[in-house]
């Protein structure tokens, strides 16, 4: 009994120290009552600046405290105007952005054209070490503020950005890019208040934005307390009083805490718990497609993998992988066998085409054997699939894929996994072309466009084209698609480009990844957006 009281006391002490979360009757400053939920979180890898955050955990916060010109609809993924009243262009290269009236940051400062232009200039500027700088690379003048070839930086601001008045600014791109407005929902394009530039350290300690939530306190590495902002001018006002993000080192612990009733929302249910999650949570569990695809890329810089007939080997390997079985037994159907190189969250209109891969993604052991034999056999008689073993239960599925390949080819040594200790080291080897044989590639979309699934991964020398695949026809089609003003036509061109990826089997599509979340009985209306982040503002408590 003593254990009980002591533990309870500790809980309440912890909670009241931050802000009342249900122990006693305290009411926090902003009139927030008990409708505050706790949610699992991971320590962001980079400082919480919009143009410096490129992973989900930091993105979670940015999604709550910022609103951009556009916002991706949490259900359909469609880019809809948020702060933008309109974004106009006649040639897909010169854009005029007009802002809606009445938006402010939560510190009262008005959101003006300058808030955007300053923020984008900051993000692009090489001296600020922003890891998402390349998102601004389409804007004219980028090569001067961010010279990539080792040249000297000759400007501090992008010449392509011009403020017209408080609510209007123009953007000039260095090339045609019709889908540019649709990329503006990405967190890197968020507006920033003056406080960000005037006292950067203070801002980083407690970021201020213009989203439905404001940060009340932030203990780095442990916890962030967010409160619904009463003065939020947007339509997507928070339906709860706030969210407390708690850092968990291990998703298993978060899940256990959820079961014990100490946590309201755990996203990313660990693979080990998938088998019993239905029994544990019943219908308080969600598993929806997210814009993530897992593929196997090939080292095209390696002559053995880039021979004339190598395409047959790649196709054969693809047909030797029993995607249905693996997704069912290992991932309990939380991943879906891939049949193209994009993601179902794009929808048919957005460029997803079910079955585009056709027979090449269907398991057929006999066909696989034949194809690989025709292609001259496996280079060196064996494939080694390189992956990072530290996260994401990659070992499980790589072993399963190898198993499937070995069984299909009737050779116990045809395929082996090649684990690399850490993600950083894995990236090190892949980006320096040190990997021999196929390697794991996971792609989480930045914005819901088929362009984002193709260009960064398969365009010649693109930033995530680690296998160095290159195809002139593909590049040409992508260029044409980007210049095309008609969305439907652009999508069609991207699909043609994707068909080249298929015909060359530039990478083997494995499966689409789902986002998952489980929640306590206090919550309702829990959904995940296409980026597998909970839609916090819609969650109701109690």
């Amino acid at each position: 009994m003593r254990g009980v009281t002591r533990a309870r006391w500790a809980v309440c002490a912890a909670a009241t120290a931050l802000v009342a979360a249900g122990c006693g009757n305290e009411v926090s400053g902003g009139g927030a009552g008990g409708a505050v939920l706790t949610s699992s979180w991971g320590d962001p890898q980079n400082p919480l600046e919009p143009a410096n955050t490129n992973e989900v955990q930091g993105g979670k916060v940015l999604d709550m405290i910022f609103r951009n010109l556009k916002r991706y609809d949490p259900r359909t993924g469609e880019a809809k105007n948020m702060l933008a009243e309109r974004i106009e262009t006649s040639d897909s290269q010169h854009f005029t952005v007009t802002l809606k009236d009445g938006w402010t940051f939560s510190n009262g400062e008005k959101v003006t054209a300058r808030s955007f232009v300053d923020a984008w200039n900051y993000g692009a500027n090489l001296t600020n070490n922003q890891k998402n700088a390349y998102f601004f690379s389409y804007i004219d003048g980028y090569d001067r503020v961010h010279p990539d070839g080792g040249g000297k930086q000759s400007a501090d601001t992008l010449t392509g950005l011009r403020i017209v008045d408080d609510r209007t600014f123009t953007v000039r791109l260095s090339q045609k890019f019709s889908a540019f407005p649709d990329t503006l929902g990405y967190p890197a394009f968020a507006p920033l208040p003056r406080a960000f530039f005037d006292d950067h350290d203070a801002w980083l300690k407690k970021p201020v934005g213009n989203g439905p939530y404001g940060i009340e306190s932030y203990t780095k590495g442990a916890e962030m307390v967010l409160r619904a902002w009463d003065g939020y001018p947007g339509k997507d006002k928070a339906r709860n009083d706030g969210v407390t993000l708690k850092v968990y080192t291990d998703t298993n612990t978060a899940y256990t805490d959820l079961l014990a009733g100490n946590l309201d929302l755990a996203d990313d249910i660990p693979a080990a718990q998938l088998a019993n999650v239905r029994g544990d949570l019943g219908d308080r569990y969600l598993n929806t497609p997210a814009g993530i695809i897992q593929t196997l890329a090939f080292p095209f810089y390696d002559k053995d993998w880039n021979k004339k007939d190598s395409v047959k080997v790649r196709q054969g390997l693809s047909r030797a992988i029993d995607r249905e079985r693996i997704t069912e037994t290992i991932f309990q159907k939380t991943r879906t066998p891939a049949t193209d190189w994009t993601s179902p969250v794009l929808g048919e209109e957005g460029g997803y085409k079910k079955g585009l891969c056709g027979e090449w993604c269907e398991y057929d052991a006999a066909a696989a054997r034949k194809l690989i034999a025709e292609g001259g056999g496996l280079p060196g008689g064996q494939v080694r699939i390189t992956y990072n073993a530290d996260t994401g239960s990659h070992r499980l599925w790589v072993d399963a894929v190898c198993n499937s390949v070995n069984k299909a080819l009737g050779n116990d040594r045809a395929c082996v996994g090649n684990p690399v200790g850490t993600f950083a080291d894995f990236r090190n080897q892949t980006t320096r072309q040190k990997v021999q044989g196929p390697f794991r590639t996971g792609w989480q979309m930045d914005y819901p466009l088929s362009q984002n699934f193709l260009q960064p991964l398969y365009y010649t020398n693109a930033s995530s084209n680690d296998g160095k695949w290159s195809n002139k026809d593909f590049d040409r089609l992508v260029d044409r698609a980007n210049a095309e003003t008609d969305t439907a036509k652009a999508v069609g061109l991207f699909q043609q480009a994707e068909e080249i990826v298929r015909d060359q089997m530039a990478a083997i599509p494995l499966w689409y990844q789902n986002g998952s979340a489980g929640w306590s009985e206090r919550l309702s209306d829990v959904t995940l957006n296409p980026f597998s982040v909970p839609v916090y503002d819609e969650i109701k408590v109690g």
């Binding site: 533990a7 961010h146 990539d148 612990t253 805490d257 200790g421 080897q429 320096r432």
Partner: protein
Amino acid sequence: MGRHVVRRLFQMVPVFVGATLLIFLMVNVMGDPVAGLCGERQCDAATTARLREEFGLDQPVWRQYLTYLGNVLTGDFGTAFDGRPVTELMATAFPVTVRLTVVAILFEVVVGITLGVVTGLRRGRPVDTGVLVLTLVVVSVPTFVTGLLLQLLLGVEWGWIRPSVSSEAGFGELIVPGLVLASVSLAYVTRLTRTSLAENRSSDHVRTALAKGLPRRRIVTRHLLRNSLIPVVTFIGTDIGALMGGAIVTERIFNIHGVGYQLYQGILRQNTQTVVGFVTVLVLVFLAANLLVDLLYAVLDPRIRHV
């Protein structure tokens, strides 16, 4: 005595330099940490170059190490990739882990030695056999199993404790994690005390004390226990360092944001500054604990003198 301490402190210098150098090299061998900072995307060349320069990674390893050592001597342990100074990480992590270690050591000392004395005095009795079997079970079951099991039983099934520890990590919350962390060592302490006690029971001075007609209590505490504790103290002393550094598993299970958590994250992100900084401090703790143990010998057994 004083000279002994000074000499020991001087001996720590080469150990300290060697240990940091080794860790530094090991983390460096793992490769370029900047590659992991941009997710599945390659950081653009210009930003990579700037980041490498900022973290000093563009220098040759020996110069990196010398710069690092120089900075450490002035109290600057560098900056983690998320922009936080490593000293700040230490200031949040070490108090938590120290509390956890204190709880664990208390368990070892109080429960371990008590059980050891009880079994040592009652050898062959049911109590003795029972505790022996129990310690055998504890030693043979891995920590993560004990941890997860206790977490599930006490935290979820019975609801006695919170399965995870809050960020304050007060002593009350650390009782169960501390017990888990201490469990294996606790079993060893019990067995060590028991054996040592049993050996000393038949020694001359104990028999003399018995013959003198001293009360049993006084014989056990003054004559028997004090002489039997030397190996136990040695074990607990070295265990302090092991507990602080080896809490990674326990800290992960109970979501304790201590040294183990920072080390784990530092290794995953290949953050040289974090890893080397934390290990350096752990090395110091280890050395200090060993020195303390040596000095304690003299207290326990006046025949041992340090000159």
